[in-house]
């Protein structure tokens, strides 16, 4: 490979990589932000992500349509969210414990049902090439943007607007911030939270479908590298703001792209250290944004981890 071009392409490759890697982060974190804004935390999204990847891949393979796959992943995700939400509505049930159980259940079911789909090849999700102006293949490759990423970006803006300017958005924030106030208003917090968890699960399912149907683009048991869990940290970093979730997802995506990019331009030593970048970033972000004095501004008041 031409090293001259190789090094100058790094920033662009990282951007492209960030976009590719960030999409599942984006969907899971938007889903988690929505759930947490309602006052619950769903740690099961890692399991939902993996199950979404499996079900999306399987349905896409069987129907030969990647979009039907995405739809299936969404429905499965919503079901997982619904189960989590309903269980947590029972008295004296802890959402974190249920989340961990759902995570393990989701992964277990995905591996069980996914066995027959490791070999077959399902159709990929379409991408739009924004690199048509260049003849350099690397540039073109870097600027291939998947449709789901664009949908996710629009979704972030829509959610942000929804939380600010719609009735549903305000109700969600009321319920997440004060159960007492919600009750006094005649709202039913458990119902609102269950719905929010179901929608959050649907988002995570879509994130999973992206993994198996676009990047890396195949179904296997190691498909997720903890994106579902890191997204929880990401939501805290993004202060429960969907727009910030978008930025944070790109940042995490960029960190995740670092290793593969360095490897692809021919750096053969130590690049694997950069594969750890997202995990280091998670830790760094949590430490940097913590503060003994300021209360976490923006943290929903009813959230069990910040209460």
């Amino acid at each position: 490979m031409d090293t001259e071009l190789g090094y100058s392409i790094i920033p662009l490759a990282i951007l492209g990589g960030a976009i590719r890697v960030s999409t599942p982060f984006l969907f899971v974190s938007l889903g988690e932000a929505l759930t947490e804004r309602s006052g619950r935390i769903n740690l099961g999204l890692e399991g939902t992500l993996v199950f979404g990847a499996m079900s999306g891949y399987a349905v896409a393979y069987l129907t030969n349509s990647p979009w039907l796959g995405v739809g299936a992943a969404m429905i499965c995700g919503a079901l997982f969210g619904l189960i989590h939400g309903v269980i947590c509505s029972l008295p004296r049930v802890n959402d974190i414990a249920v989340g961990i159980a759902m995570m393990i259940l989701g992964m277990g079911l995905a591996f069980y049902f996914g066995k027959p789909y490791v070999q077959p090849v399902a159709p990929d999700l379409p991408a739009i090439g924004f690199g048509w102006w260049s003849d350099i293949p690397q540039v073109r490759a870097a600027l291939e943007v998947n449709v789901l990423f664009l949908i996710g970006a629009v979704l972030a803006v829509v959610l942000w607007w929804m939380l600010r300017s719609t009735r549903i958005g305000l109700i969600l924030r009321v319920v997440g911030d004060s159960t007492d106030a919600a009750r006094a208003m005649g709202l039913r917090p458990a119902v609102v939270r269950t719905c929010a968890t179901a929608v959050g699960g649907a988002f995570a399912g879509v994130g999973g479908a992206y993994l198996s149907l676009y990047y890396p683009g195949s179904w296997n048991e190691g498909i997720s590298s903890g994106q579902g869990l890191m997204a929880v940290a990401l939501v805290i970093f993004a202060r429960w703001n969907p727009l910030a979730c978008f930025g944070a997802a790109l940042l995490f995506g960029g960190a995740g792209a670092l290793g593969p990019v360095l490897q692809s331009v021919g750096i053969s030593e130590g690049y694997y250290l950069f594969f750890a970048a997202p995990y280091v970033l998670t830790l760094g972000v949590l430490i940097a944004t913590s503060s003994p004095t300021r209360a976490m501004t923006g943290a929903p008041g009813e959230l069990s981890i910040t209460k």
Partner: protein, 498 residues
């Protein structure tokens, strides 16, 4: 919009074996201002919560405008035009004032046009006797402002029967007058009827038409306010119990116990500074900090309790640097009663006995907690301070507002006390409890404790303290011995015009 009348018939409410409300029938005529009096734990809040459908009464009926109404939840009450300002705030802390108002409406559109809503809100605000910042998150408002917002919210929602549960306990007398005279005007215009729970006879005489008195869950009397004197009302509330007599001042002022120098910190909103310099509290004296809520008193309290870090400055206790650690508080015998004790000085879901044990659980045992000792201590204190609770194992959050206050005071005032730091000690207490608590504070002073007391109740400051300071805009702007202080200039400094 016209006022509606409400009547309860034989309202009874039991919590387990405990009867909080016993066969209570009261009638509020349309357009009247009705006051509900009673000691702490008498069942006042329980009665109105039953009326609002927040609790399901064990027995009894409600008549709204003369017709039977089955009110199963607050929504049903709202639909009939009933509204309530609860004793504990029901605002959503992270939402702004405007968002809180709009979302509380029944008919919020699916998509909110904020520009139009804001214009409407501004027009509504303009017709009110007081103003609130529409874009601030409620979290950053002072207690008094929150209370005003609660009341404003009910008016905004167009309620025709309004229940106010101790609306003025966090307001200054001036603010209270402002709010209540507006309510009274609305009553006279026939726009609303008001049922107000209060502990202040002054407000009953000045604003109410009629009064009902509860004692231990039973309606024990009432009638036209014009026919009743304060003594009559007091007698109805207390039955044959005796009022604690205020202790006389005795002893001499000793060495300074608490010294604050060059303290700087940011306030709750993060926008303003708190600066306190040269504050001294000596042994055997009570220093009062007067001021309108939101002028830095709660931040000063937080600095002293260690809840808020200082950017600079020094706090000394008995001449030694003090960093608000538990060990220091223990070795110097420092005790606190912060405002909103349920949140600042209690673990709400833990039992009364555990909460009372917070000062002593780690010192009067070894490695293992001595449950027996903790319970015995709790039993004694609950009896001594007359905390009304079903058992000492009940979660402290189930206690009535005034009883939480008593439980915390019981904990803080027991044992040796050298420095006592208090904020609004009589917030929400009935008058017999008030005189009892003030007597206890005076006794602590006479026994040589240094007392710093922050209070929005100027009468309390004038009665209790030896020296008075005024805080305004985060600074101490006035200082005088209470004997020489003059109410008018204190008032001026509180208002910030001096």
């Amino acid at each position: 919009m016209t006022a509606i009348g409400v009547e309860t018939l034989g309202m009874t409410m039991r919590f387990g074996a405990f009867t909080a409300l016993d066969n209570c029938s009261i009638k509020i005529a349309p357009g009247s201002f009705h006051a509900l009096l009673g000691e702490n734990g008498a069942g006042k809040s329980t009665l109105v919560k039953c009326m609002m459908g927040f609790y399901q009464a064990t027995a009894g009926q409600m008549l709204v405008d003369g017709r039977e109404a089955r009110i199963t939840d607050p929504k049903a009450a709202h639909a009939r035009g009933l509204g309530m300002v609860y004793q504990h705030f029901t605002l959503v802390p992270s939402l702004t004032v405007a968002e809180n108002l709009v979302i509380s409406r029944e008919d919020v559109p699916n998509v909110i046009d904020w520009r139009a809503e804001r214009l409407e809100l501004q027009a509504f605000m303009a017709g009110m006797p007081f103003q609130l910042p529409l874009d601030q998150p409620v979290r950053t408002l002072a207690a008094g402002e929150k209370q005003k917002l609660e009341i404003l919210k009910q008016l905004y929602l167009g309620r025709r029967f309004l229940i106010l549960d101790e609306p003025t306990s966090v307001l200054t007398p001036d603010e209270a007058d402002e709010v209540l005279s507006h309510m009274r005007r609305l009553c006279q215009e026939g726009a609303i009827s008001v049922l107000m729970i209060t502990h202040k006879f002054r407000e009953v005489t000045a604003y109410a038409d009629e009064v009902s008195v509860l004692r231990r869950g039973k309606l024990v009397g009432g009638g036209k306010v014009a026919d009743l004197s304060h003594d009559d009302m007091a007698a109805l509330m207390m039955g044959d119990a005796q009022l604690a007599r205020p202790a006389d001042r005795s002893g001499t002022r000793g060495a300074p116990v608490l010294e604050l120098d060059g303290i700087r910190a940011v306030d709750r909103t993060g926008l303003k500074d708190i600066e306190v310099d040269g504050l001294r509290v000596h042994a055997g004296e009570i220093v009062g900090v007067a001021g309108i809520s939101g002028n830095g008193q709660s931040e000063l309290m937080e600095i002293l309790t260690g809840q808020r870090p200082c950017q600079s400055g020094e706090i000394r206790v008995n001449g030694r640097a003090y960093t608000a650690s538990r060990t220091e508080a223990q070795s110097h015998n420092i005790r606190f009663l912060p405002e909103e004790p349920l949140f600042n000085a209690c673990a709400p879901r833990m039992s009364v006995s555990d909460n009372i044990g917070f000062r002593s659980f780690d010192t009067d045992g070894g490695f293992w907690l001595s449950r027996r000792k903790m319970r015995a201590r709790a039993e004694t204190l609950v009896r001594q301070f007359k905390v009304k609770t079903t058992t000492i194992d009940a979660p402290i959050s189930a206690l009535s507002g005034g009883n939480v206050q008593r439980a915390v005071l019981a904990r803080e005032l027991s044992g040796e006390v050298d420095l006592l730091i208090i904020s609004n000690p009589c917030f929400g207490l009935d008058f017999s409890a008030v005189s009892e608590i003030r007597a206890r504070i005076m006794t602590a002073r006479n026994e040589g404790a240094a007392v710093l007391i922050m209070s929005e109740d100027l009468d309390e400051i004038m009665e209790l303290t030896d020296r008075v300071l005024v805080m305004s805009e985060g600074r101490v702007t006035y200082e005088a011995t209470t004997a020489e202080a003059d109410i008018a200039s204190i008032g001026h400094h509180m208002g910030g015009h001096a």
